[in-house]
Amino acid sequence: MSSENHSCQSNYLTFKGKYAGVWGWLFSTDHKRIGILYLYSILSFFIAGAFLGLLMKLELIAPGSTIMRAQTYNGFFTLHGITMIFLIVIPGIPAVFGNFFLPLLIGARDVAFPRLNLLSWWIYILGALVALSSQFLGSDPPDTGWTFYAPYSFRTGTNMLPAVLGAFILGFSSILTGLNFIVTIHRLRAPGMTWLRMPLFPWSLYGTAWIQLLATPIIGITLLMVVAERTLKIGFFDPTLGGDPVLYQHLFWIYSHPAVYIMILPAMGIISELLPAFARKPIFGYKAIVVSTLLIAFIGYFVWGHHMFTAGMSGTAQFAFSFLTFLVAIPSAVKVFNWLATLYKGSIHIQTPFLWAASFLFVFMIGGMSGLVLGALATNVHLHDTAFVVAHFHFIVFGGVGYAFMAGIHYWFPKMFGRMYDSGWANTGWGLFFSGFLTLYFPMFILGMKGMPRRYFDYLPEFHGLNVISSLGAMLMLFGLAIVLINLMRAARRGAAAPDNPWGALTLEWTVPSPPPVANFIDIPTIVTHPYDYSILQPKDLSK
């Protein structure tokens, strides 16, 4: 017990364990340190991926070859996609905020399998290194796009193997994280925390973890089949060996569409945590949000075919997948209405995390609505493989996950680092980012409707004007992003000390010191209320 008391006193940042210095981080099984490891790794990859995106936008600022050759552009959008999807948005929120805050939110000392958790991070780094080695080893960098579509992925002379294997290894990391979270949520909730007293971010992680567990193996085996096809010449998807390339698309999207929900559900969870705290109101329709989370996770499994409407599927399949796509929009819309109703007549505190959350609602709605345009069969045939699709999924994936990530980091930063950031700069950065984001992606909807295809380094002269606007938007957005990140990095080292509960929020993570002690809680709390019971706040609390 004495060692436990000792570790309760020192916080997780300054704690001296078995290893000193950087090894104390790389071999720490503390979920909070692992969360920070993921944060730094993911942010580094994100900066690289965003830079690639900027280079692509610079190429598209004028027709013809502007700053790169066609093949370079192919390599860039492939690497941009692999980095952003497999290294950032799929692990993103669960790995960073899930690791750091899941145990804190449910009143546990750590996740169920701390060593497995550390192993997941190491596997993640290994997968990332293998995937990125495709850029430097062997022949040209991969040029298939992040989807590795057959048969091109085993015919192209470029360096596909490391990229495919890297994605396979990253899948392991994702599976193990999901497994860990499910067991944690089942076994380690604080006494009194019934399922319906659990905060919504853990709920969203629970739904996500099940998708990670049940969908990731399918992509794992599919990627292995591509590897076997490329190295051993086993016929799976190669039409010259009798294989069916469309079956590859099926298998790929059986994972990769649910993967969209691996990305967006935790983002929705963060928003559900944040809005009650900044509206000083209980969340509206807690149970409806829980049910819609589980419904999205389940139905989201059976909509994969909407990526293949032009691939020659049977009419029945097209109809069924289109119908289910519309069906999955319903629980998503339920959530949006619940969030809006939470804000209605709330005592709204407009602070940086709230700004990100509110802009999330805006961009997520545009992304979701444009998704229905693509989910409808007739319009899909017109818009498939155009810039419209690119705009749509950037609104959802970047607008959804990115904004929620930013909302989360600005919300939890004081708890994670024990310091406050400068909210003036944070708000300025948000304003520039938000304006830049809309300027960047909105024109792409119009370009797509006019017929500009995606994945080309060149375009017809009539698309020039809107592309210039879009490229300028990219610069503005990245300028805003730089301000946001520099502001946070400065605050992590030199910010003013943060109080334990700077936002007056009610969930458990705000009851422990900032930064949290190693064992999280001195005594595990007993839960007697609903997580968002803001009616217990006194008027003086509300005036803060």
Binding site: L179, V183, T216, K233, I234, G242
Partner: protein, 201 residues
């Protein structure tokens, strides 16, 4: 060491193993989907290709795995009854049967190789598309299954040593239980592979 590492939760460990088993089943599930689609598209070729496989070998391996599943399950009862010697024997029999399975698999694959049937071989490519797909799936699915046998053998070997050193006892046996669960999962996969490749002709 953080204070949390000493926490023991057998139920949590068992749920974790089950979840892992689900991912393994779905890993094979992807291949079963491919099998189903290609069988549907090439019924005749799959019919004739399946006749090429050695049915006796398939039956023998099925029996070996079923017996090994029973012995590993019984070894848990032995541990619960504190019959350590019996438990060690039962786990050893399981390991032996697993190794025999691999030996048979090796002979079977070697035989196919000897007849010039292996991925990318000229003889296979001459046979036609359906056969190429069938044997591709055969090598991939039985190969992946054999890999899982190896993993199962490793887990059970660890369990064997732990039983020997009294680290798995009648009050703490979740490692053996989980190892057994994993072994049964490998058995279940084979229960489906066997008819799909050897019986349906």
């Amino acid at each position: 060491m953080t204070p949390t590492e000493s926490h023991r939760d057998d139920v949590g460990a068992k749920i974790g193993m089950w979840l892992f088993i689900f991912t393994e089943l779905l890993l094979f599930g992807g291949l079963f989907i491919v099998y189903a689609v290609y069988r549907y598209k090439n019924p005749v070729a799959f019919h004739f290709a399946a006749e090429e496989l050695n049915r006796g070998m398939g039956i023998l391996n099925t029996i070996l795995l079923l017996i090994s599943s029973a012995t590993v399950a019984m070894s848990l009862t032995a541990v619960q009854l504190n019959e350590r010697g019996k438990s060690l024997i039962l786990i050893s029999i399981t390991l032996m049967l697993g190794v025999l399975f691999l030996v048979n698999k090796y002979i079977e694959w070697g035989d196919k190789w000897g007849h010039g049937i292996y991925p990318g071989s000229e003889k296979l490519l001459e046979l036609g598309h359906g056969e190429v797909l069938f044997f591709g799936l055969y090598f991939a699915m039985t190969g992946l299954h054999a890999l899982h046998i190896v993993i199962g053998l490793l887990i059970l070997t660890i369990a064997l040593f732990r039983v020997k050193r009294n680290r798995i006892t009648s009050s703490d046996y979740v490692l053996l239980e989980n190892g057994g669960l994993y072994w049964h999962m490998v058995d279940i996969v084979w229960i489906f592979l066997f008819p799909l490749f050897y019986l349906i002709v």
